[in-house]
């Protein structure tokens, strides 16, 4: 099974491996959600949705339904 942003735990960091361009709005890509960039889970709202992330230095929140389309590799340092 592919690991996605939706699998991140609080404080965990990962590298974005792939984003499915059909399911991800261009706006999110422009904010830095691109392969190779780092993503960190900052905070979760109740029921783990939405997710408060730090991507490429930008802090933003997205819904879980979008997060499952961002494929990552957890880097655990």
């Amino acid at each position: 099974m592919e690991v996605t942003v939706a699998h991140l735990k609080r404080g965990e960091k990962a590298i974005i491996v792939d984003v499915s361009s059909i399911n991800i709005p261009l706006k999110l890509l422009e904010m830095g959600c691109l392969p190779g960039n780092e993503v960190e889970l900052v905070q979760l709202a109740p029921f783990s949705d939405p997710m408060y992330l730090k991507i490429n230095g930008t802090h933003l929140a997205i819904r879980k339904e979008t997060a499952i389309h961002i494929i990552i590799e957890i880097t655990n340092e």
């Binding site: 709005p25 261009l26 691109l34 109740p46 802090h59 933003l60 997205i62 819904r63």
Partner: protein, 699 residues
Amino acid sequence: MSKQINVALIGNPNTGKTSVFNALTGLNQKVGNYPGITVEKKEGICKLPRGVKAHIIDLPGTYSLNASSLDENVVIELLLNKNDKDFPDVAVVVSDVENLKRNLLLFTQIKDLEIPTILVINMADRMKYKGISLDIPYLEAELNTKIAIVSTRKKEGIDNLKELISNFKELSITPCLSASEIDKEYFDNLRKAFPNQLLYKLWLVITQDVNFGKTDRNVIDAVADFKTKTKADLKKLQQKETIKRYQFINNTLKKGQNIDLSTAKDLRIRLDRILTHKVWGYVIFLFILLTIFQAIYDWSAIPMDFIDSAFASLSEWTKNALPEGALTSLLAEGIIPGLGGIVIFIPQIAFLFLFISVLEESGYMSRVVFLMDRGMRRFGLSGKSVVPLISGTACAIPAIMATRNIESWKERLITILVTPFTTCSARLPVYLIIISLVIPEGRFLGLGYQALTLMLLYLIGFASALISAMILNKVLKIKSKSFFVVEMPNYKLPLIKNVALTVVEKTKSFVFGAGKIILAISIVLWFLASYGPGDQFNNAEEIVTEKFASDNLTEDELQQEIASQKLEYSFIGLAGRAIEPAIRPLGYDWKIGIAIVSSFAAREVFVGTLATIYSVGSDDEDTIKNRMAGEVNPILGGPLFNFASGISLMLFYAFAMQCMSTLAVVKRETNSWKWPILQLVLMSAFAYVVALIAYQILI
């Protein structure tokens, strides 16, 4: 001779673009609308060195030139239309030092349009705190631009920026990178087809769904035929373009920017741990709301009492100082009480705008969006609907415009439809005066009964918005893809200047906008109340004198009886009594009926209308509130404004759709009359039923 140059301020949201605009223009600014649409257009004048004047436009915030909302369209429309009178001689891209990487994406796009561009790096005061250092000469060389390091908070760097703007002719217009790299074959063909056009401009015309200026029409039509790629392919290319731009930016920043994480202190992490916490986040949010309502009530009590009595004395003074006649009476009984009915609410409205603008400026509003999204989705809304619903407590018009950043059309439409339920500042006058008449003063747990009632009315507003959203969500059959992306900006201490300008601007537009309607309505009302047809009005004195001939009334009492006879048979009295059967079951008399009818223009007219009706014919120096308290129910006896009729009236105002301007905005934003008419009919019918039930139960 001094000449004027056009300057466009462009930047991502939350970069302090508006602070830069305020610093450049000060009070020399005006807020209008772009023709035909409701996007706010902010422009101002700035004096530059050597007698040059700059006309500065503060364009809506955008993350890129790939527009996805009405506000963002404005940016790209202007930048692509050389014939627009506002087309910038120089573009100033405002960026935030902490998010330079992302901010530069927009910068490189604007550079590719070959417009002279200055890069402002704002919030420089945070650099040391964040351990950031920049190699400015290197960045200037790599980006082919001039950089102004600015701190609007510390008021630093603005003069340098003015200097750079005035020397705009020396700026390089060489692009940072070439868009054609992403698909050589496609772009080569494009260049062959349009040898005289800018390649990146053509690319934007192809990919954007925007209304461009008329003059470039033939090119645009020709380009439309050139669409040799499918939408999905174009989107892939756009994605490729974005990656290319970030590669360039990352390479540039690798050398030009150094971040020493060991010296970086992060307040936001600690604040976010509490403010976005699963439990504490909500507790704090509720606490903030409570504080705001209590403050609006307590802080404005003194100035409001002062304004109320000042207008009463002004009216009295006018009557005595000017020669008797129709004009004096129009002034003293029509215009002054009518205006008093609006001026009195300035303190509360100003406080409300103050709190909302502090919440927005500090970055807290985004946390609320994050906290509320999940819950709001259950009602068919988005977390972003919270912003319209909260700013709807000031006015539904800007609130409805604030729905534009909601990505899903269905969520946006529902937000637009339910926002008028939130308690806007125009309802406040009605609530306040009725609360002060029918709710006792005491305190409960430190909160006044009156403040609690007001809070309850706000809660009713929110609750009915949510419940109707839930119903609409079930009823409306609209399929739309929903994306939710919200930036969580840094916490900032709000700049006093920004907050003050917002409060002044919004209060002014509220007072003048409403003031015009109220002035017109009070003149009409005064006329209708001062004249009437038939014997009962024209011979009122004789009829009344005869009627009470045996009662031995004093002169004063007799005059009072004559005045009320006249009012009853004036045009307005006749009209009011015609509608009275419809509103009597709700506990109202015909005077309130008139006030309700005129309120359909705008709710805040209510108090002014009653003030005008009551002051015609009475000549004692009294406040509106005392006059209302003295009104007697003609059928049941006892005060007309009692607990039952007061509650019924407040509930009517809570639900009824009484605002022409809101209906007009809904029409513009939804592009259809269907939705505003639906709002008007359903909300008002519901209001009538609820008010009826409430009165019948309580009486």
